[in-house]
């Protein structure tokens, strides 16, 4: 597989994962705690809550997807390793990971009141797990350009696990 094909596939994987994370957060959130939250919100029924919740997951998922894409673009096209100290870039990765966590927790915190829906700790935990955990950390493990492929923490172990299978 040549480098361009690999790049296109990885961008596609990042986009597909973002969509998958949005779907997962929406369905799991709706199923686990959607009814209780719809009842607790003012002037809200379950289907209206779901509609607003979908808007929220979409916004969070897209911003998270941009974080993963941002890391990929930076590592693939912006970083140059022509010196040993230029390798790794884990601090940069950690910065984007922190941004991803801030998005996963901050967007629902700020945007949910604007949408008029109530959330609970389960939703925050779910967003952090799905968007930062799977939508950023896991997806960067599989899509980070090869020159930095072991920069996401535990990537070596995870990739080894998958390559064995």
């Amino acid at each position: 597989m040549n480098r361009t094909t690999r790049t296109v596939i990885k961008i596609f994987v990042i986009a597909a994962t973002a969509i998958g994370c949005i779907a997962a957060a929406y369905y799991v959130g709706s199923l686990v705690t959607g009814h209780a939250l719809a009842t607790a919100s003012d002037n809200m029924n379950y289907s209206r809550w779901q509609e607003k919740f979908f808007t929220l997951t979409r916004a969070t998922g897209l911003l998270n997807g941009l974080c993963a894409l941002g890391w990929f673009i930076a590592a693939r096209f912006a970083f140059t390793v022509d010196e040993v100290p230029g390798a790794g870039k884990r601090i940069f990765w950690a910065g984007i990971c922190a941004a991803s966590a801030a998005i996963a927790l901050g967007v629902p915190h700020v945007y949910a009141p604007m949408l008029g829906i109530k959330l609970n700790g389960i939703i925050f935990a779910l967003f952090a797990t799905i968007f930062t955990g799977a939508g950023f950390w896991l997806v960067t493990i599989f899509t980070t350009p090869l020159a930095f492929k072991y920069t996401p923490p535990l990537s070596r172990e995870v990739l080894k696990l998958f390559s064995r299978r």
């Binding site: 390793v81 022509d82 010196e83 040993v84 390798a87 790794g88 072991y150 070596r156």
Partner: protein, 462 residues
């Protein structure tokens, strides 16, 4: 077919150094085994020591599993022992070796008339001191029936006996002591010793003409080579060769119109460490050319350069692409790899930063002799190249000397890396790093540190 390269004297040793680098870079015409022998009474000679170090490194590299479908390390070598062959032994004079001075008859008187007292009594630990007449007498006596008969000649006889053909190439100067004495003497003795197999041996020679000069400093009345004698010596030697056309099947005359001044004069031994010179590279390429020619083709080669004070790739009869790829490979190693290995050993670096280390060197101990040897060799190659590129105030346009430094070897200007030979390529240091991490299918036999070197070499291809 087997190849023999026999270096004679200090200049021969320096040709051998260039040939070793060419071999390691895979620049010999095909993948026959090359047997390397050296004849030098000055066994502690600094030039020979440097060459021996490179050769011994190469012997170690042959154990690297780099695969068969690569030019890297493709020419296997064997060192013919004793290495070097010392025709004089230790602390011996011409009198000790010939014993003619004990004769009171005509032979003794003739000997006394032909050699001065100084020539007869000087110890030969540091070579024949620019006096080929001493060397010719010693070599004729000790090469023909000495211990080397049981190694070099016997080895060639064995190979021929097994049905092999053998090409033998001799290299040495015609203007000094050991080379001037050894080239014709050894060629003739080999022809005589192997006369029964004349149809299966071919002998070539690089006769190195004067290309350096020096000013002796404070050595009193000691006997030594004098550069003012180089041209008369050469004239006499060439006349001798002109009269003996059948000595070599292929003769390569290599010299220079400018005498490069040697920085630190030394009579011999460890202090004699002269810088590499492009004439030696040409002589090594002459060996490569000889090995590539069909057996028994009588050739005289004449090569000249396009511009008087300038050398460029157009003047060099070798594969530019392969040489440049090898130079990239060495510099990528010293710039990107060696510091990482050092940092990992000292615990200053985390392995995750270097995916190629995790993937390719995971099971390799970076303190292994293999790794240490290669790092040592990379330094030696950089030093050799730097010396080639910066001699005699003339312009050399092979590998850009502004790109790198030697001792320690390092890249000075990273931007020049992609244009090492003056032609811009897409091979930047980042590109090499990236390629090293990409999947590449290799034979299953390619393993360990050899696999890593093979990957790095492939990553440096234009």
């Amino acid at each position: 077919m087997s190849y023999y390269f026999i270096s004679i004297g200090g200049t021969g040793a320096k040709v051998m150094e260039s040939l070793t680098h060419l071999c390691i870079a895979g620049l010999l015409p095909n993948d026959e085994r090359l047997y390397i022998a050296a004849i030098d009474p000055d066994v502690g000679n600094g030039n020979l020591e440097r060459t021996s170090a490179a050769l011994n490194n190469f012997v170690a590299f042959q154990n690297f599993s780099v695969g068969n479908d690569t030019p890297l390390f493709k020419n296997k070598i064997s060192i013919v022992r004793p290495f070097p062959f010392n025709p004089t032994g230790h602390d011996k004079t011409l009198d000790d070796l010939t014993e003619y001075h004990q004769h009171s008859t005509g032979v003794g008187k003739l000997y006394a008339a032909l050699y001065t007292r100084a020539e007869r009594s000087v110890t030969l630990n540091e070579g024949f001191r620019g006096h080929p007449s001493i060397g010719a007498a010693v070599l004729a006596k000790n090469f023909g029936d000495g211990s080397n008969r049981t190694t070099l000649t016997a080895q060639i006889e064995k190979l021929i006996g097994e049905g092999d053909s053998v090409k033998i190439f001799l290299a040495g100067s015609v203007f000094g002591g050991t080379g001037a004495a050894g080239l014709p003497t050894v060629a003739r003795l080999l022809r005589d010793n192997l006369a029964d197999y004349a149809d299966r041996i071919s002998i070539g020679g690089a006769l190195i003409l004067p290309y350096f000069s020096f000013t002796p400093t404070d050595i009193g009345d000691e006997l030594f080579a004098r550069s003012e004698n180089f041209l008369p010596n050469t004239k006499a030697a060439l006349k001798y060769y002109a009269d003996r056309e059948n000595l070599f099947d292929a003769t390569y005359l290599v010299g220079d119109s400018v005498m490069t001044a040697v920085k630190d004069f030394s009579v011999g031994s460890a202090n004699q460490r002269n810088e590499a010179h492009i004439v030696e590279l040409y002589a090594a390429l002459a060996a490569a050319d000889f090995f590539a020619q069909p057996t028994k083709k009588k050739i005289f080669k004449y090569i000249c350069r396009h511009e008087r004070d300038k050398f460029s790739w157009n003047d060099l009869p070798t594969s530019r692409e392969r040489f440049v790829q090898f130079a990239r490979f060495i510099f990528a190693y010293v710039h990107l790899v060696k510091p990482v290995l050092n940092n990992l050993v000292s615990g200053e670096a985390a392995a995750y930063k270097y995916p190629w280390f995790v993937d390719l060197l995971g099971g390799v101990k970076v303190t292994d002799p293999d790794v240490v040897n290669f790092s040592f060799y990379a330094e030696a190659f950089a030093a050799w190249l730097k010396q080639l590129e910066t001699f005699g105030g003339r312009e050399i346009f092979l590998i850009d000397p502004a790109a790198f430094e030697s001792n320690p070897a390092r890249i000075v200007d990273k931007k020049i890396f992609s244009a090492l030979d003056g032609v811009q390529s897409k091979i930047t240091l980042h590109e090499v790093w990236y390629r090293l991490t990409e999947p590449l299918k290799l034979e299953s036999s390619v393993t360990g540190f050899g696999k890593f070197l093979r990957r790095l070499y492939e990553a440096c291809a234009a």
